[in-house]
Amino acid sequence: MQTWIQRRPRSWRILLVGLPLAMLLLSFMVGRYPIPLRTVAKILLAQIFPIEHDWPHTVEAVVLQIRMPRIIGALLVGSGLAVSGASFQGIFHNPLVSPYILGVASGAAFGAALGILFSFGTVMLHVTSLLFGILAVIFTFAIGRAQSKAPPLVLVLSGVVVGSFFSALISTIKYVADPFEKLPTIVFWLMGSLSRITPDLIAVAAPLMGIGVVALGAMRWRINILSLGEEEALALGIDTGKERGCIIFLCTLLTASAVCLSGIIGWVGLVIPHLARMMVGPDYRHLFPACLSLGGFYVLGIDNLARTLSQGEIPLGILTALIGAPFFAWLLTKNRVGW
Protein backbone atom coordinates (compact mmCIF):
# COMPACT_ATOMS: atom_id res chain seq x y z
CA MET A 1 0.00 0.00 0.00
CA GLN A 2 1.58 3.24 -1.09
CA THR A 3 0.75 6.41 0.71
CA TRP A 4 -0.61 9.37 -1.05
CA ILE A 5 2.68 11.24 -0.92
CA GLN A 6 4.55 8.51 -2.77
CA ARG A 7 2.02 8.40 -5.55
CA ARG A 8 1.56 12.13 -6.04
CA PRO A 9 4.31 14.08 -4.34
CA ARG A 10 3.49 17.36 -6.05
CA SER A 11 -0.26 17.45 -5.59
CA TRP A 12 -0.04 16.75 -1.87
CA ARG A 13 2.33 19.65 -1.40
CA ILE A 14 -0.02 21.97 -3.24
CA LEU A 15 -2.96 20.70 -1.22
CA LEU A 16 -1.19 20.98 2.14
CA VAL A 17 -0.22 24.57 1.40
CA GLY A 18 -3.47 25.47 -0.33
CA LEU A 19 -5.97 24.11 2.21
CA PRO A 20 -4.92 26.29 5.16
CA LEU A 21 -4.49 29.34 2.90
CA ALA A 22 -7.99 28.98 1.49
CA MET A 23 -9.38 28.48 4.97
CA LEU A 24 -7.45 31.53 6.13
CA LEU A 25 -9.11 33.78 3.55
CA LEU A 26 -12.52 32.25 4.25
CA SER A 27 -12.05 32.93 7.97
CA PHE A 28 -11.65 36.66 7.31
CA MET A 29 -14.87 36.65 5.29
CA VAL A 30 -17.36 34.78 7.47
CA GLY A 31 -18.87 35.81 10.80
CA ARG A 32 -21.57 38.04 12.13
CA TYR A 33 -20.37 40.72 9.76
CA PRO A 34 -19.73 39.08 6.35
CA ILE A 35 -17.03 40.75 4.29
CA PRO A 36 -16.51 40.03 0.57
CA LEU A 37 -13.24 38.42 -0.54
CA ARG A 38 -12.24 41.48 -2.60
CA THR A 39 -12.35 43.74 0.43
CA VAL A 40 -10.50 41.24 2.63
CA ALA A 41 -7.79 40.88 0.02
CA LYS A 42 -7.48 44.65 -0.37
CA ILE A 43 -7.28 45.28 3.38
CA LEU A 44 -4.61 42.61 3.82
CA LEU A 45 -2.59 43.79 0.83
CA ALA A 46 -2.87 47.38 2.03
CA GLN A 47 -0.76 46.40 5.03
CA ILE A 48 2.17 45.78 2.70
CA PHE A 49 1.48 47.73 -0.49
CA PRO A 50 0.15 51.27 -0.77
CA ILE A 51 -3.47 50.76 -1.87
CA GLU A 52 -6.16 53.44 -1.83
CA HIS A 53 -8.52 53.01 1.14
CA ASP A 54 -12.02 52.67 -0.33
CA TRP A 55 -13.56 50.67 2.55
CA PRO A 56 -15.17 51.80 5.82
CA HIS A 57 -13.00 51.91 8.95
CA THR A 58 -15.27 49.50 10.83
CA VAL A 59 -14.59 46.80 8.20
CA GLU A 60 -10.86 47.27 8.60
CA ALA A 61 -11.22 47.07 12.38
CA VAL A 62 -13.17 43.81 12.09
CA VAL A 63 -10.55 42.26 9.82
CA LEU A 64 -7.41 43.43 11.58
CA GLN A 65 -8.37 43.82 15.22
CA ILE A 66 -11.07 41.22 15.75
CA ARG A 67 -10.54 38.47 13.22
CA MET A 68 -6.78 38.63 12.74
CA PRO A 69 -5.73 37.71 16.33
CA ARG A 70 -8.33 35.01 16.45
CA ILE A 71 -7.21 33.50 13.14
CA ILE A 72 -3.57 33.56 14.20
CA GLY A 73 -4.62 31.99 17.49
CA ALA A 74 -6.55 29.21 15.72
CA LEU A 75 -3.60 28.43 13.47
CA LEU A 76 -1.20 28.37 16.43
CA VAL A 77 -3.45 26.16 18.52
CA GLY A 78 -4.23 23.72 15.70
CA SER A 79 -0.71 23.40 14.35
CA GLY A 80 0.86 23.34 17.81
CA LEU A 81 -1.43 20.62 19.19
CA ALA A 82 -1.17 18.48 16.04
CA VAL A 83 2.62 18.67 15.94
CA SER A 84 3.01 17.99 19.65
CA GLY A 85 0.56 15.06 19.42
CA ALA A 86 2.51 13.57 16.53
CA SER A 87 5.81 14.00 18.37
CA PHE A 88 4.44 12.47 21.59
CA GLN A 89 3.22 9.47 19.56
CA GLY A 90 6.67 9.11 18.05
CA ILE A 91 8.84 9.34 21.14
CA PHE A 92 6.57 7.07 23.18
CA HIS A 93 6.37 4.78 20.12
CA ASN A 94 2.70 4.65 20.79
CA PRO A 95 0.07 5.79 18.31
CA LEU A 96 -2.55 6.11 21.04
CA VAL A 97 -1.14 9.01 22.99
CA SER A 98 -1.89 12.71 22.60
CA PRO A 99 -1.26 15.80 24.73
CA TYR A 100 -4.73 15.26 26.15
CA ILE A 101 -4.37 11.56 26.91
CA LEU A 102 -0.96 11.95 28.55
CA GLY A 103 -2.47 14.38 31.06
CA VAL A 104 -0.35 17.28 29.81
CA ALA A 105 -3.38 19.30 28.74
CA SER A 106 -5.08 18.84 32.13
CA GLY A 107 -1.92 19.80 33.98
CA ALA A 108 -1.42 22.87 31.82
CA ALA A 109 -5.09 23.77 32.19
CA PHE A 110 -4.80 23.56 35.98
CA GLY A 111 -1.83 25.89 35.86
CA ALA A 112 -3.69 28.34 33.67
CA ALA A 113 -6.85 28.13 35.81
CA LEU A 114 -4.70 29.00 38.82
CA GLY A 115 -3.44 31.95 36.80
CA ILE A 116 -6.96 33.14 36.07
CA LEU A 117 -8.01 32.64 39.69
CA PHE A 118 -5.19 34.82 40.95
CA SER A 119 -5.46 37.27 38.01
CA PHE A 120 -1.90 36.61 36.81
CA GLY A 121 -0.50 38.55 33.85
CA THR A 122 -0.11 36.92 30.44
CA VAL A 123 3.50 35.89 30.96
CA MET A 124 2.91 34.40 34.41
CA LEU A 125 -0.11 32.56 33.03
CA HIS A 126 2.16 30.85 30.51
CA VAL A 127 4.76 30.06 33.14
CA THR A 128 2.35 28.36 35.56
CA SER A 129 0.64 26.54 32.72
CA LEU A 130 3.97 25.25 31.37
CA LEU A 131 5.15 24.24 34.85
CA PHE A 132 2.10 22.17 35.63
CA GLY A 133 2.07 20.69 32.12
CA ILE A 134 5.63 19.44 32.62
CA LEU A 135 4.77 18.19 36.09
CA ALA A 136 1.85 16.21 34.66
CA VAL A 137 3.91 14.52 31.95
CA ILE A 138 6.63 13.64 34.46
CA PHE A 139 4.02 12.00 36.69
CA THR A 140 2.52 10.11 33.76
CA PHE A 141 5.87 8.85 32.57
CA ALA A 142 7.02 7.93 36.10
CA ILE A 143 3.90 5.88 36.77
CA GLY A 144 4.15 4.18 33.38
CA ARG A 145 7.87 3.54 33.94
CA ALA A 146 7.29 1.84 37.28
CA GLN A 147 5.54 -0.92 35.34
CA SER A 148 8.86 -2.32 34.05
CA LYS A 149 8.96 -1.37 30.39
CA ALA A 150 5.99 1.00 29.94
CA PRO A 151 3.99 -0.88 27.34
CA PRO A 152 1.62 1.37 25.40
CA LEU A 153 -1.44 0.54 27.45
CA VAL A 154 0.16 1.34 30.83
CA LEU A 155 1.24 4.72 29.54
CA VAL A 156 -2.27 5.54 28.36
CA LEU A 157 -3.73 4.42 31.69
CA SER A 158 -1.28 6.44 33.77
CA GLY A 159 -2.09 9.43 31.55
CA VAL A 160 -5.76 8.94 32.40
CA VAL A 161 -4.87 8.77 36.11
CA VAL A 162 -2.81 11.94 36.03
CA GLY A 163 -5.36 13.70 33.82
CA SER A 164 -8.24 13.01 36.17
CA PHE A 165 -6.16 14.05 39.18
CA PHE A 166 -5.55 17.44 37.60
CA SER A 167 -9.19 17.63 36.49
CA ALA A 168 -10.14 17.23 40.15
CA LEU A 169 -7.76 20.05 41.04
CA ILE A 170 -9.41 22.18 38.34
CA SER A 171 -12.80 21.41 39.85
CA THR A 172 -11.46 22.56 43.21
CA ILE A 173 -10.48 25.86 41.65
CA LYS A 174 -13.92 26.23 40.12
CA TYR A 175 -15.43 25.48 43.52
CA VAL A 176 -13.52 28.23 45.25
CA ALA A 177 -13.63 30.76 42.40
CA ASP A 178 -15.78 33.84 42.61
CA PRO A 179 -19.09 32.69 41.00
CA PHE A 180 -19.87 36.02 39.34
CA GLU A 181 -16.59 37.00 37.81
CA LYS A 182 -13.93 34.28 37.73
CA LEU A 183 -16.07 31.13 37.52
CA PRO A 184 -17.78 31.86 34.16
CA THR A 185 -14.43 32.85 32.65
CA ILE A 186 -12.77 29.64 33.80
CA VAL A 187 -15.66 27.41 32.78
CA PHE A 188 -16.10 28.88 29.31
CA TRP A 189 -12.36 28.94 28.70
CA LEU A 190 -12.00 25.31 29.82
CA MET A 191 -14.57 24.23 27.26
CA GLY A 192 -12.17 25.53 24.68
CA SER A 193 -12.73 28.87 23.07
CA LEU A 194 -10.77 31.32 21.01
CA SER A 195 -12.99 34.26 21.97
CA ARG A 196 -10.68 35.29 24.83
CA ILE A 197 -7.74 35.80 22.51
CA THR A 198 -6.22 39.25 22.63
CA PRO A 199 -3.25 40.67 20.73
CA ASP A 200 -1.08 40.68 23.87
CA LEU A 201 -1.88 37.00 24.51
CA ILE A 202 -0.76 36.28 20.93
CA ALA A 203 2.33 38.39 21.48
CA VAL A 204 3.45 36.02 24.25
CA ALA A 205 2.21 32.72 22.81
CA ALA A 206 3.32 33.17 19.20
CA PRO A 207 7.08 33.48 19.82
CA LEU A 208 6.99 30.62 22.35
CA MET A 209 5.11 28.36 19.96
CA GLY A 210 7.26 29.49 17.07
CA ILE A 211 10.36 28.39 18.97
CA GLY A 212 8.68 25.09 19.87
CA VAL A 213 7.64 24.30 16.31
CA VAL A 214 10.97 25.24 14.74
CA ALA A 215 12.97 23.27 17.32
CA LEU A 216 10.73 20.20 17.03
CA GLY A 217 10.86 20.47 13.25
CA ALA A 218 14.64 20.53 13.37
CA MET A 219 14.57 17.30 15.37
CA ARG A 220 12.20 15.49 13.00
CA TRP A 221 14.75 12.87 11.98
CA ARG A 222 15.61 12.20 15.63
CA ILE A 223 11.90 11.63 16.32
CA ASN A 224 11.89 9.03 13.53
CA ILE A 225 14.69 7.15 15.27
CA LEU A 226 13.13 7.46 18.72
CA SER A 227 9.88 6.05 17.34
CA LEU A 228 11.69 2.76 16.61
CA GLY A 229 12.11 1.96 20.29
CA GLU A 230 14.57 2.46 23.13
CA GLU A 231 17.24 -0.13 22.26
CA GLU A 232 17.15 0.65 18.57
CA ALA A 233 17.58 4.37 19.20
CA LEU A 234 20.47 3.78 21.62
CA ALA A 235 22.17 1.49 19.10
CA LEU A 236 21.89 4.26 16.50
CA GLY A 237 23.80 6.64 18.72
CA ILE A 238 20.91 8.60 20.21
CA ASP A 239 21.24 9.77 23.79
CA THR A 240 17.63 8.78 24.40
CA GLY A 241 17.26 10.27 27.87
CA LYS A 242 18.38 13.76 26.89
CA GLU A 243 16.78 13.88 23.48
CA ARG A 244 13.44 12.49 24.61
CA GLY A 245 13.46 14.93 27.51
CA CYS A 246 14.13 17.78 25.13
CA ILE A 247 11.26 16.76 22.83
CA ILE A 248 8.87 16.29 25.76
CA PHE A 249 9.74 19.78 26.95
CA LEU A 250 9.08 21.29 23.50
CA CYS A 251 5.78 19.39 23.12
CA THR A 252 4.70 20.49 26.57
CA LEU A 253 5.63 24.07 25.74
CA LEU A 254 3.38 23.91 22.65
CA THR A 255 0.53 22.28 24.55
CA ALA A 256 0.73 24.69 27.49
CA SER A 257 0.76 27.72 25.17
CA ALA A 258 -2.17 26.30 23.23
CA VAL A 259 -4.05 25.78 26.49
CA CYS A 260 -3.34 29.38 27.54
CA LEU A 261 -4.74 30.60 24.22
CA SER A 262 -7.83 28.46 24.01
CA GLY A 263 -8.41 26.21 27.00
CA ILE A 264 -8.65 22.48 26.52
CA ILE A 265 -9.25 21.48 22.94
CA GLY A 266 -9.22 17.72 22.77
CA TRP A 267 -8.87 15.38 19.80
CA VAL A 268 -6.79 17.67 17.59
CA GLY A 269 -3.55 16.19 18.93
CA LEU A 270 -4.80 12.65 18.39
CA VAL A 271 -6.87 12.74 15.22
CA ILE A 272 -4.81 15.09 13.06
CA PRO A 273 -1.56 13.07 13.37
CA HIS A 274 -3.48 9.94 12.36
CA LEU A 275 -5.11 11.66 9.42
CA ALA A 276 -1.75 13.06 8.36
CA ARG A 277 -0.09 9.66 8.75
CA MET A 278 -2.75 8.14 6.49
CA MET A 279 -1.95 10.73 3.87
CA VAL A 280 1.84 11.01 3.95
CA GLY A 281 3.06 8.00 5.97
CA PRO A 282 4.84 7.81 9.34
CA ASP A 283 8.08 9.54 8.31
CA TYR A 284 8.33 12.74 10.38
CA ARG A 285 10.10 14.50 7.54
CA HIS A 286 6.71 14.55 5.78
CA LEU A 287 4.42 14.03 8.75
CA PHE A 288 5.62 17.17 10.49
CA PRO A 289 4.66 19.70 7.78
CA ALA A 290 1.46 17.77 7.12
CA CYS A 291 0.46 18.07 10.79
CA LEU A 292 1.24 21.80 10.80
CA SER A 293 -0.96 22.31 7.78
CA LEU A 294 -3.87 20.03 8.69
CA GLY A 295 -3.91 21.06 12.36
CA GLY A 296 -4.15 24.75 11.47
CA PHE A 297 -6.71 24.03 8.79
CA TYR A 298 -8.86 21.92 11.11
CA VAL A 299 -9.01 24.28 14.09
CA LEU A 300 -9.49 27.30 11.84
CA GLY A 301 -12.37 25.53 10.11
CA ILE A 302 -13.93 24.45 13.40
CA ASP A 303 -13.60 27.96 14.79
CA ASN A 304 -15.39 29.32 11.74
CA LEU A 305 -18.24 26.92 12.48
CA ALA A 306 -18.17 27.95 16.15
CA ARG A 307 -18.54 31.59 15.14
CA THR A 308 -21.21 31.13 12.50
CA LEU A 309 -23.41 28.15 13.41
CA SER A 310 -25.46 29.98 16.02
CA GLN A 311 -26.15 33.48 17.32
CA GLY A 312 -23.98 32.94 20.34
CA GLU A 313 -20.68 31.19 20.26
CA ILE A 314 -20.29 27.42 20.53
CA PRO A 315 -17.25 26.40 22.60
CA LEU A 316 -14.55 25.04 20.32
CA GLY A 317 -13.77 22.04 22.52
CA ILE A 318 -17.32 20.79 22.06
CA LEU A 319 -17.11 20.97 18.28
CA THR A 320 -13.66 19.39 17.95
CA ALA A 321 -14.87 16.46 20.06
CA LEU A 322 -18.22 16.21 18.24
CA ILE A 323 -16.38 15.94 14.94
CA GLY A 324 -13.14 14.33 16.14
CA ALA A 325 -14.59 11.47 18.18
CA PRO A 326 -16.84 9.99 15.45
CA PHE A 327 -14.05 10.46 12.92
CA PHE A 328 -11.62 8.55 15.12
CA ALA A 329 -14.25 5.86 15.69
CA TRP A 330 -14.59 5.55 11.92
CA LEU A 331 -10.82 5.23 11.58
CA LEU A 332 -10.79 2.45 14.18
CA THR A 333 -13.66 0.46 12.67
CA LYS A 334 -12.30 0.82 9.16
CA ASN A 335 -8.92 -0.34 10.45
CA ARG A 336 -7.39 2.46 8.47
CA VAL A 337 -5.11 3.59 11.23
CA GLY A 338 -2.23 1.39 10.09
CA TRP A 339 -0.20 0.66 13.20
Binding site: Q2, W221, I225, G229, L236, I238, D283, G338
Partner: protein, 280 residues
Protein backbone atom coordinates in the same frame (compact mmCIF):
# COMPACT_ATOMS: atom_id res chain seq x y z
CA UNK B 1 42.41 -7.11 18.81
CA UNK B 2 39.21 -5.28 17.86
CA UNK B 3 37.07 -6.23 20.86
CA UNK B 4 38.43 -7.37 24.20
CA UNK B 5 36.21 -8.23 27.13
CA UNK B 6 38.02 -8.45 30.45
CA UNK B 7 36.45 -10.18 33.44
CA UNK B 8 33.08 -8.64 32.65
CA UNK B 9 30.24 -8.94 35.12
CA UNK B 10 26.76 -7.46 35.22
CA UNK B 11 24.05 -7.27 37.84
CA UNK B 12 20.83 -5.31 37.71
CA UNK B 13 20.52 -2.53 40.24
CA UNK B 14 17.92 -4.64 42.07
CA UNK B 15 20.68 -7.17 42.77
CA UNK B 16 19.98 -9.94 40.27
CA UNK B 17 23.34 -11.13 38.94
CA UNK B 18 23.22 -11.96 35.23
CA UNK B 19 26.81 -12.95 34.43
CA UNK B 20 30.31 -12.63 35.88
CA UNK B 21 33.95 -13.10 35.02
CA UNK B 22 33.56 -13.34 31.26
CA UNK B 23 36.74 -12.72 29.28
CA UNK B 24 36.93 -13.11 25.53
CA UNK B 25 38.11 -11.34 22.42
CA UNK B 26 37.10 -10.93 18.79
CA UNK B 27 39.34 -10.11 15.85
CA UNK B 28 38.35 -8.35 12.62
CA UNK B 29 36.86 -10.83 10.17
CA UNK B 30 35.90 -13.27 12.92
CA UNK B 31 32.46 -14.62 13.73
CA UNK B 32 31.93 -15.29 17.42
CA UNK B 33 28.84 -17.34 18.27
CA UNK B 34 27.34 -17.05 21.74
CA UNK B 35 25.58 -20.20 22.90
CA UNK B 36 23.62 -20.81 26.05
CA UNK B 37 20.24 -21.95 27.30
CA UNK B 38 17.22 -19.65 27.43
CA UNK B 39 17.62 -16.85 29.94
CA UNK B 40 21.34 -17.20 30.70
CA UNK B 41 21.91 -13.57 29.78
CA UNK B 42 23.07 -13.75 26.17
CA UNK B 43 20.94 -10.73 25.24
CA UNK B 44 22.12 -8.75 28.25
CA UNK B 45 25.72 -9.60 27.40
CA UNK B 46 25.24 -8.34 23.84
CA UNK B 47 23.61 -5.16 25.14
CA UNK B 48 26.64 -4.65 27.38
CA UNK B 49 28.92 -5.10 24.38
CA UNK B 50 27.05 -2.22 22.71
CA UNK B 51 27.36 -0.13 25.88
CA UNK B 52 23.58 -0.01 26.37
CA UNK B 53 24.05 -1.33 29.92
CA UNK B 54 27.22 -0.31 31.74
CA UNK B 55 29.15 -3.28 33.19
CA UNK B 56 29.14 -3.78 36.95
CA UNK B 57 32.63 -5.30 36.87
CA UNK B 58 35.43 -5.58 34.36
CA UNK B 59 35.99 -3.69 31.16
CA UNK B 60 35.24 -3.76 27.44
CA UNK B 61 37.90 -2.44 25.09
CA UNK B 62 37.13 -1.48 21.53
CA UNK B 63 40.34 -1.06 19.54
CA UNK B 64 42.09 -0.43 22.85
CA UNK B 65 39.63 2.27 23.98
CA UNK B 66 37.41 1.68 26.96
CA UNK B 67 33.77 1.49 25.85
CA UNK B 68 32.61 3.29 29.00
CA UNK B 69 34.58 6.39 27.99
CA UNK B 70 32.82 6.68 24.61
CA UNK B 71 29.60 8.61 23.87
CA UNK B 72 26.57 6.89 22.34
CA UNK B 73 27.33 8.56 19.03
CA UNK B 74 30.96 7.42 19.03
CA UNK B 75 29.95 3.85 19.86
CA UNK B 76 27.28 3.81 17.15
CA UNK B 77 29.88 4.71 14.54
CA UNK B 78 31.86 1.57 15.44
CA UNK B 79 29.22 -0.94 16.51
CA UNK B 80 25.88 -1.86 14.93
CA UNK B 81 23.37 -3.86 16.93
CA UNK B 82 20.39 -5.90 15.76
CA UNK B 83 18.07 -6.48 18.74
CA UNK B 84 16.13 -9.71 18.94
CA UNK B 85 12.64 -8.32 18.83
CA UNK B 86 11.74 -5.38 16.78
CA UNK B 87 8.19 -4.28 17.24
CA UNK B 88 7.48 -1.57 14.72
CA UNK B 89 4.83 0.85 15.91
CA UNK B 90 4.62 2.74 12.65
CA UNK B 91 4.60 1.49 9.03
CA UNK B 92 7.82 3.12 7.82
CA UNK B 93 8.98 2.42 4.28
CA UNK B 94 11.76 -0.16 4.00
CA UNK B 95 14.08 2.45 2.50
CA UNK B 96 13.45 4.78 5.45
CA UNK B 97 14.23 2.02 7.95
CA UNK B 98 17.55 1.45 6.19
CA UNK B 99 18.24 5.19 6.05
CA UNK B 100 17.87 5.35 9.82
CA UNK B 101 21.08 3.34 10.01
CA UNK B 102 22.86 6.41 8.63
CA UNK B 103 21.94 8.45 11.73
CA UNK B 104 25.37 8.12 13.45
CA UNK B 105 26.98 9.68 10.38
CA UNK B 106 24.65 12.65 9.81
CA UNK B 107 24.63 15.89 11.74
CA UNK B 108 22.50 16.30 14.82
CA UNK B 109 19.71 18.37 13.25
CA UNK B 110 20.13 17.21 9.65
CA UNK B 111 18.19 14.67 7.61
CA UNK B 112 19.76 12.04 5.32
CA UNK B 113 21.02 13.36 1.99
CA UNK B 114 21.43 11.93 -1.49
CA UNK B 115 24.66 10.11 -0.62
CA UNK B 116 22.91 8.34 2.24
CA UNK B 117 20.00 7.35 0.01
CA UNK B 118 22.36 5.98 -2.66
CA UNK B 119 24.20 3.99 -0.02
CA UNK B 120 20.98 2.59 1.44
CA UNK B 121 19.74 1.49 -1.99
CA UNK B 122 23.11 -0.06 -2.82
CA UNK B 123 23.07 -2.05 0.40
CA UNK B 124 19.52 -3.23 -0.27
CA UNK B 125 20.67 -4.29 -3.72
CA UNK B 126 23.65 -6.21 -2.35
CA UNK B 127 21.25 -8.15 -0.13
CA UNK B 128 18.95 -8.61 -3.16
CA UNK B 129 15.96 -6.91 -1.60
CA UNK B 130 15.96 -3.62 -3.50
CA UNK B 131 12.49 -4.48 -4.82
CA UNK B 132 11.16 -3.99 -1.27
CA UNK B 133 12.34 -0.39 -0.90
CA UNK B 134 8.93 1.28 -1.19
CA UNK B 135 7.02 -1.32 0.85
CA UNK B 136 5.87 -0.62 4.41
CA UNK B 137 8.21 -2.40 6.79
CA UNK B 138 5.21 -3.79 8.69
CA UNK B 139 3.93 -5.65 5.65
CA UNK B 140 6.92 -7.77 4.64
CA UNK B 141 7.75 -11.30 5.84
CA UNK B 142 9.90 -12.09 8.88
CA UNK B 143 12.82 -13.20 6.73
CA UNK B 144 12.68 -10.04 4.63
CA UNK B 145 12.43 -7.95 7.78
CA UNK B 146 15.60 -9.49 9.18
CA UNK B 147 17.44 -8.61 5.96
CA UNK B 148 16.10 -5.05 6.04
CA UNK B 149 17.34 -4.64 9.61
CA UNK B 150 20.68 -6.08 8.56
CA UNK B 151 20.86 -3.54 5.73
CA UNK B 152 20.11 -0.81 8.24
CA UNK B 153 22.96 -2.07 10.45
CA UNK B 154 25.34 -2.25 7.48
CA UNK B 155 24.86 1.35 6.33
CA UNK B 156 26.04 2.26 9.80
CA UNK B 157 29.45 1.15 8.45
CA UNK B 158 30.30 -0.76 11.63
CA UNK B 159 33.57 -2.51 12.47
CA UNK B 160 31.68 -4.74 14.84
CA UNK B 161 28.23 -6.17 14.22
CA UNK B 162 26.21 -7.57 17.14
CA UNK B 163 23.29 -9.86 16.28
CA UNK B 164 20.87 -11.11 18.92
CA UNK B 165 19.45 -14.43 17.74
CA UNK B 166 19.15 -13.30 14.13
CA UNK B 167 18.08 -16.74 12.88
CA UNK B 168 15.47 -17.61 15.49
CA UNK B 169 12.43 -16.49 13.52
CA UNK B 170 13.65 -17.60 10.10
CA UNK B 171 12.65 -20.74 8.22
CA UNK B 172 15.20 -23.43 7.39
CA UNK B 173 16.24 -22.01 4.02
CA UNK B 174 16.43 -18.43 5.26
CA UNK B 175 18.60 -19.55 8.19
CA UNK B 176 21.16 -21.04 5.82
CA UNK B 177 21.06 -17.99 3.55
CA UNK B 178 21.48 -15.68 6.54
CA UNK B 179 24.52 -17.62 7.76
CA UNK B 180 26.00 -17.37 4.29
CA UNK B 181 25.56 -13.59 4.35
CA UNK B 182 27.16 -13.41 7.81
CA UNK B 183 30.20 -15.34 6.60
CA UNK B 184 30.51 -13.04 3.58
CA UNK B 185 30.40 -9.96 5.80
CA UNK B 186 33.13 -11.42 7.98
CA UNK B 187 35.24 -12.01 4.89
CA UNK B 188 34.90 -8.28 4.14
CA UNK B 189 36.57 -7.61 7.49
CA UNK B 190 33.64 -6.96 9.82
CA UNK B 191 33.84 -8.61 13.23
CA UNK B 192 30.59 -10.32 14.15
CA UNK B 193 29.21 -11.45 17.48
CA UNK B 194 25.93 -13.32 17.27
CA UNK B 195 23.92 -15.26 19.79
CA UNK B 196 22.06 -18.32 18.61
CA UNK B 197 20.01 -21.21 19.91
CA UNK B 198 21.46 -23.63 17.40
CA UNK B 199 24.89 -25.23 18.05
CA UNK B 200 24.75 -26.19 14.37
CA UNK B 201 24.91 -22.55 13.38
CA UNK B 202 28.06 -22.15 15.43
CA UNK B 203 29.53 -25.25 13.83
CA UNK B 204 28.64 -23.92 10.36
CA UNK B 205 29.49 -20.25 10.57
CA UNK B 206 31.58 -19.41 13.63
CA UNK B 207 35.31 -18.94 13.83
CA UNK B 208 35.08 -18.93 17.62
CA UNK B 209 32.35 -19.92 20.00
CA UNK B 210 31.60 -18.86 23.58
CA UNK B 211 29.29 -20.88 25.80
CA UNK B 212 27.58 -19.29 28.77
CA UNK B 213 26.02 -21.35 31.52
CA UNK B 214 24.71 -20.07 34.85
CA UNK B 215 26.22 -16.65 34.14
CA UNK B 216 29.73 -18.00 33.58
CA UNK B 217 31.85 -18.72 30.54
CA UNK B 218 31.85 -22.49 30.16
CA UNK B 219 33.98 -22.65 27.04
CA UNK B 220 35.63 -20.34 24.54
CA UNK B 221 37.56 -21.23 21.41
CA UNK B 222 37.39 -23.00 18.08
CA UNK B 223 33.94 -24.54 17.51
CA UNK B 224 35.21 -28.00 16.52
CA UNK B 225 37.21 -28.22 19.75
CA UNK B 226 34.83 -26.51 22.16
CA UNK B 227 31.55 -28.01 21.01
CA UNK B 228 31.98 -31.54 22.29
CA UNK B 229 29.05 -33.79 23.10
CA UNK B 230 29.77 -33.44 26.83
CA UNK B 231 29.85 -29.65 26.76
CA UNK B 232 26.68 -29.28 24.72
CA UNK B 233 25.02 -31.76 27.03
CA UNK B 234 26.06 -29.69 30.04
CA UNK B 235 24.93 -26.46 28.41
CA UNK B 236 21.44 -27.49 27.44
CA UNK B 237 20.89 -30.42 29.78
CA UNK B 238 19.98 -32.74 26.94
CA UNK B 239 21.63 -35.77 25.34
CA UNK B 240 23.30 -35.03 22.01
CA UNK B 241 25.47 -36.67 19.39
CA UNK B 242 27.95 -34.66 17.33
CA UNK B 243 28.45 -36.13 13.89
CA UNK B 244 31.29 -35.34 11.54
CA UNK B 245 30.35 -35.36 7.85
CA UNK B 246 33.82 -35.76 6.45
CA UNK B 247 33.00 -35.33 2.76
CA UNK B 248 31.48 -31.86 3.37
CA UNK B 249 33.78 -30.93 6.23
CA UNK B 250 30.77 -30.19 8.43
CA UNK B 251 30.07 -31.10 12.01
CA UNK B 252 26.45 -31.26 13.09
CA UNK B 253 24.78 -31.78 16.40
CA UNK B 254 21.64 -33.87 16.92
CA UNK B 255 19.58 -34.15 20.12
CA UNK B 256 18.92 -37.65 21.39
CA UNK B 257 15.40 -38.26 22.71
CA UNK B 258 14.61 -40.92 25.31
CA UNK B 259 13.28 -43.36 22.71
CA UNK B 260 16.50 -43.01 20.70
CA UNK B 261 18.54 -43.38 23.85
CA UNK B 262 16.92 -46.72 24.71
CA UNK B 263 17.55 -47.89 21.20
CA UNK B 264 21.17 -46.78 21.33
CA UNK B 265 21.69 -48.50 24.66
CA UNK B 266 20.21 -51.70 23.31
CA UNK B 267 22.40 -51.63 20.22
CA UNK B 268 25.46 -50.86 22.30
CA UNK B 269 24.56 -53.64 24.69
CA UNK B 270 24.50 -56.08 21.78
CA UNK B 271 27.83 -54.84 20.46
CA UNK B 272 29.66 -54.42 23.78
CA UNK B 273 27.92 -56.68 26.26
CA UNK B 274 30.53 -55.97 28.94
CA UNK B 275 30.19 -52.14 28.98
CA UNK B 276 28.68 -50.93 32.25
CA UNK B 277 25.36 -49.10 31.82
CA UNK B 278 25.42 -45.38 32.51
CA UNK B 279 24.04 -44.41 35.93
CA UNK B 280 20.54 -43.00 35.62
Amino acid sequence: MLLTVQEAGFSYSGGGRIFEDISLSVEEGEVLCLLGANGVGKSTFLQCLDGIHPLSEGEILLDGRSLSSMSRRQISREIAFLPQFHRASFPFRVLDIVLMGRTPHINFLATPGKRDIDMARKTLESLRILHLEEKPYTQISGGERQLVLLASALVQEPHLLLLDEPTTHLDFGNQARFLEIIKNLARQGIAIVMSTHFPDHALLAASTVAIIRAGKLLGFGEPAKVLTEELIQETYDVDVRVIHLEDAGIRTCVPVLSENRDRMKKRRGEAFPLEPSSPE
